[in-house]
C-alpha cells in the first residue's frame, strides 16, 4: 500500500528551487488539494513573478503567467470569463505584498471567488536577497546590511490581518511549513480554501510562511528553526477570518 507519493497535479519537471527551499513543499500541498478535490481538469492557475515564476512548468493544470503583482487581477478576469473554473494564484511576498498590493487588496475587497496562495519568506529571493516589505525589523538582507531600520524604511506588512478587515474576504489563514505538524495544518488550510471556492464562497487567501535558506544565509534545517523563532512570533499562525463559519455559528 502506498502511504505517500508525488501528487498527480504536479508534472515530472524537476523543480528549479534551491536545495531546502520550501516552495517545493507548498507546490506539493496545492497539487494535493487539487487531487483530493478532483478538480485538475477545471483548474486554472495564475503564476506570478519571482522565484515561483516557473510554476506553470510544475502544475499539471492550465496556467496563465501574469505581469508582476497582477495575478489577482488576471485571476479575476479568468474567473469572470468562466465561473465554472477553479482559479488560483501562486504568489510570493515580493509579488503580492509589494508591487501587487493594490490588486490583492481590491480583489479581496470585491470578494472575487478565487483562491490566493501567498508564500511569505520575508525576503526577495529571485533577485538576490534584498529587503522585502515583509522583512522583519532588524533582519539583515543585501539592502539592509545593518538590519531593517523601521525608522527609515517602516514596518513589515501583515497581509492576513490587513485583509481580514475587509468585508469582501471569505477565508484568510496563515500557516507555515517549517515542520511536519505545520505542513499538515497547511495542507488542510489550502484544501479548505479550494473547497470554499468550489462552493462559491468568495475570496480566500492562505499565507504560507516559507524559508529561503540561500538568501537568509542558513542551512535548510537552520532556516526552518529561524522561521520558528523569528517569523512565527511576528506573523502569528491561525485563522484570521472565516466568514461562513462565523455566519453558521450565529
Amino acid at each position: 500500500m502506498i502511504v505517500f507519493e508525488k501528487p498527480k497535479a504536479l508534472t515530472d519537471a524537476p523543480l528549479h528551487y534551491c536545495p531546502g527551499c520550501t516552495h517545493g513543499i507548498i507546490h506539493r500541498l496545492v497539487a494535493e488539494a487539487i487531487d483530493s478535490l478532483d478538480i485538475a481538469g477545471k483548474t486554472i492557475g495564475v503564476a506570478s513573478v519571482g522565484c515561483s515564476v516557473f510554476a506553470y512548468n510544475y502544475f499539471n493544470v492550465d496556467m496563465v503567467q501574469a505581469a508582476h503583482g497582477r495575478a489577482p487581477a488576471v485571476a479575476t478576469g479568468v474567473k469572470r470569463a468562466d465561473p465554472s473554473k477553479i482559479v488560483f494564484t501562486y504568489q510570493g511576498d515580493g509579488d503580492l505584498a509589494s508591487i501587487g498590493t493594490a490588486e490583492t487588496v481590491h480583489a479581496a475587497a470585491r470578494g472575487e471567488n478565487i483562491t490566493v496562495i501567498f508564500v511569505n519568506n520575508a525576503i526577495y529571493g529571485m533577485t538576490g536577497g534584498q529587503m522585502a516589505p515583509t522583512s522583519l525589523p532588524g533582519q539583515v538582507t543585501q539592502t539592509s546590511p545593518y538590519g531593517r531600520d523601521v525608522n527609515t524604511v517602516g514596518y513589515p506588512v501583515r497581509i492576513c490581518e490587513l485583509l481580514a478587515t475587509l468585508d469582501g474576504t471569505g477565508y484568510v489563514e496563515r500557516v507555515a511549513v517549517n515542520n511536519v505538524k505545520n505542513v499538515r495544518n497547511a495542507k488542510k488550510a489550502i484544501e479548505k480554501a479550494f473547497r470554499r471556492q468550489t462552493e462559491g464562497k468568495g475570496f480566500s487567501l492562505i499565507e504560507v510562511l516559507s524559508t529561503c535558506p540561500t538568501n537568509w544565509g542558513k542551512t535548510p534545517e537552520g532556516a526552518t528553526e529561524w522561521l520558528e523563532q523569528n517569523m512565527i512570533p511576528y506573523y502569528p499562525l491561525g485563522v484570521y477570518k472565516d466568514k461562513y463559519a462565523e455566519e453558521a455559528a450565529k
Binding site: 500500500m1 502511504v3 507519493e5 524537476p14 528551487y17 506539493r28 505542513v183 499538515r184
Partner: protein, 68 residues
Amino acid sequence: MAKVTFEKDLCKGCGLCIAACPKGILSLSKDEINQKGHHPAQIDDQSKCIACAFCATMCPDCVITVEK
C-alpha cells in the same frame, strides 16, 4: 513491511528529511554523487522504518515514495 524509496537524481541533498525522521535512519550518501552534483539522501536501515512519511512530508522535491 515499510519501504522508503528515493528518486536519487532529483534529490538536492538539503537534509530536511534527515532532520524530520523520528527514527534517525536517513543520511546523505558519502560516496555517491547524483546527476545534479549533490550527495543524495538514502535510508540506512529499512527494517527500522515505521512508514510515518515524515521524510516525504518535508521533502521539497517529491523525491520520496513511502509504502507499507
